[in-house]
């Protein structure tokens, strides 16, 4: 009697499930709070726009700023197009090497976002992993991990990133420095941000591990690693996503700071931070556009991501407030 019915029940086609999930989401409280917060909708739109244009930069940018052949030093220091000496070819003007500022911003935010996302993922994997092990295992392992976390958190994140960056740079052979620069940067920023994930996940894990569904899994002898991955992880990820969004803004700023200080990405592949530093030299000679536009782009990106993160924190997890 159970057979045909159960068959039917288990094999719901994938697209039906997707539709169901979408309907549930549209009906849910989170979506409702999203739609009723115009600031959040705007922030999301801006974030998506920046991400999209960064991804599509090679296709939509007026110029490839890394292609030396297309650059013309004669066009250097051109002001924005609406100004007296402006050139309609260069909407936001050009820098000292004749690179189109709009194009460098598009390419620059590409680097900034890439470094931001990858270092957030690195922090997240490291922090969630250590946090879940710490919370589930307890005892000396927990003590060791948490002491390390406390020592790290007593220093500013930027200092940790600078320190790691500095150490790695001296360790890496000169010849490979350029190609590894981005990896080093991602690792440095990533390592500076895991503590918050670890602490949050650890405390949620300690709550979850004592809940009866985890005990039920332990009674039937499920391996601890499996319990952590399959049972606990999905239940502690909510706050992690909120932290990750807010952390993305922080990571982008950290990258910009490091690049501004000259220890970030190489100038051949400038990120927003590099662009701001390059432009900074010309700020007082009146060529403000070289630094102001990248700065504005950075500010808008970070603000939008932050607003999105704030809303997520409020909507998804009121307890974190």
């Amino acid at each position: 009697m159970g057979k045909p019915a159960s068959l039917q029940a288990v094999h719901i086609p994938l697209h039906r499930r997707a539709i169901d999930a979408l309907r549930r989401a549209a009906d849910g409280d989170v979506f409702y709070s999203f739609i009723h917060s115009p600031v959040t909708v705007a922030a999301t739109a801006v974030t998506l726009l920046i991400i999209l244009s960064a991804v599509l930069a090679p296709w939509i940018a007026p110029q490839d700023p890394f292609d030396m052949a297309s650059l013309d030093l004669m066009d250097a220091h051109t002001p924005p197009s609406w100004m007296a000496d402006g050139n309609p070819k260069y909407l936001l003007g050009t820098d000292d090497q004749g690179r189109d500022v709009l194009s460098t911003i598009l390419y620059g935010s590409r680097i900034s976002l890439e470094v931001g996302f990858l270092s957030v993922i690195f922090s997240m994997v490291l922090g969630v992993g250590l946090g879940i092990v710490s919370g589930y295992a307890g005892g000396w392992l927990d003590a060791v991990i948490m002491r390390i976390a406390e020592i790290q958190i007593s220093f500013p994140a930027i200092l940790i990133a600078l320190l790691t960056d500095g150490i790695l740079r001296t360790v890496i052979p000169e010849a490979r420095a350029e190609e590894l620069a981005l990896t080093v940067l991602i690792f440095s920023i990533g390592i500076s941000g895991w503590v918050q994930y670890a602490r949050t996940v650890r405390s949620s894990t300690m709550v979850e591990r004592n809940r009866e569904y985890v005990q039920a899994a332990r009674v039937i002898g499920i391996h601890p690693v499996k319990i952590m991955l399959r049972h606990i992880l999905p239940n502690v990820m909510g706050p992690v996503l909120v932290i990750a969004t807010i952390h993305l803004a922080v990571a982008i700023i950290t990258e910009a700071t490091l690049s501004f200080l000259g220890v970030g990405v190489p100038p051949t592949e400038p990120s927003l931070g590099t662009l701001i530093r390059i432009g900074n030299d010309y700020l007082f000679s009146g060529e403000w556009w070289i630094t102001i536009f990248p700065s504005a782009a950075l500010a808008i990106l970070v603000l939008a991501v932050n607003l999105l993160g704030d809303w997520m924190r409020d909507a998804l997890n009121p307890k974190l407030r």
Partner: protein
């Protein structure tokens, strides 16, 4: 009290679970640094301090007591969520502590299952019911074929009064009673002989409680299950149990067949507990509430732990802790004030 010998039978009874001298202590001290700085001693919570009982195959043994008496700790010890500080647990003749190999342990574990108190916490909210119920089947490798697992799950759902289609839903789509049914279906998935039920109905409403208790009795008869039933509700325990152990501060103070215990409670604590329950039958008896409060288990009273609240307390109760000993056929009591007939005092203790 014998702790060795042939485990299978005892006085002709078929014993499934045999617990001897079971203890579990928890270290609840402050962290080392605080202890050193503040000069505080180590603090040990004796949650379970030496209990013995047997469960016959196909029977229900209930542990009752108030909060902090250690009954849930016993449940967790039996299913292996805690390791005993001392004592042995034998299941079907095998000492659980002696099983080293994973395969041996799994073979025993699949014969035991557990039902939990809180139907809202005992099911993983992110899992579909199908996956929740089939987890034991997959974990023990009972069925390999996907279709066979689907069929088995459907059968389990039907068995507990749900429909096979419910497997596709998430736990939050069910009421408390239905969730407890899911919990029971999961417990039955590995085809166990023995189920530990830790307050299975105390989070449920009365009418739903009746459904769940009826379902559990029915399953027991149909599948020949044995239960260790943990509860604070004496009326529920009376309904379900064949034999009852009354716990107070980590020890058994009385153990007797259910009917005997209710008709003729011997330990003063059992007696007061029975007198104190609000009674729907309103027989008009004068109720005497138990005076005083449950002592702190970290710092239990000397001698008999119940002596500060006991109406029959004597000097010896304050000095010496009474041992659980047989006072009549199948009835064991730990009380100085209850006399043991001569012919029983020397006989072997059996649950």
């Amino acid at each position: 009290m014998s702790t060795s010998g042939a485990p299978q039978t005892s006085g002709g009874k078929d014993i499934l679970l045999r617990v001897r001298g079971l203890k579990r202590y928890f270290d609840v001290s402050q962290p080392l640094l605080n202890r050193l700085l503040e000069g505080k001693p180590r603090q040990i919570l004796r949650a379970v301090s030496g209990i013995n009982f047997d469960i016959q195959r196909g029977h229900t043994f209930a542990l009752v007591g108030e909060s902090g008496c250690g009954k849930s700790t016993v449940a967790n010890l039996v299913v292996g969520l805690y390791r005993p500080t001392a004592g042995t647990i034998e299941f079907d003749g095998q000492d659980l502590a002696k099983l080293q190999r994973r395969s041996e342990l799994a073979a025993i574990r699949r014969k035991m299952a557990m039902i939990f108190q809180d139907p809202y916490a005992s099911l993983n909210p992110r899992w579909r019911v199908f996956n929740i119920i089939s987890e034991p089947i997959r974990a023990f490798g009972l069925l390999d074929d996907k279709q066979a697992i689907i069929d088995r799950t459907a059968q389990l759902l039907t068995q507990v009064g749900l429909s096979p289609q419910d497997g596709q839903k998430y736990p939050h789509e069910f009421s408390g009673g239905q969730r407890q049914r899911i919990s029971i279906a999961r417990a039955l998935a590995s085809d166990p002989q023995f189920i530990v039920c830790d307050e299975p109905t105390s989070a449920l409403d009365v009418s739903v409680q009746a459904q769940i208790l009826n379902l559990m009795s029915e399953l027991q008869q149909r599948l020949g299950l044995s239960y260790l039933f943990i509860s604070h509700d004496l009326a529920v325990v009376r309904h379900m149990a064949d034999r009852i152990g009354v716990m107070y501060l980590g020890r058994l103070c009385e153990s007797a067949p259910a009917d005997t215990l209710f008709e003729n409670p011997r330990h003063p604590y059992t007696r007061l507990l029975l007198d104190t329950i609000p009674d729907i039958e309103m027989t008009g008896r004068k109720r005497v509430p138990v005076a005083g409060e449950i002592p702190n288990p970290i710092d239990p009273p000397t001698g008999c732990a119940f002596h500060p609240r006991c109406p029959r307390v004597t000097d010896v109760c304050r000095r010496e802790r009474p041992h659980l000993r047989p006072v009549a056929d199948g009835i064991m009591v730990a009380c100085h004030a209850v006399d043991a007939p001569d012919h029983l005092s020397g006989s072997q203790a059996a649950g």
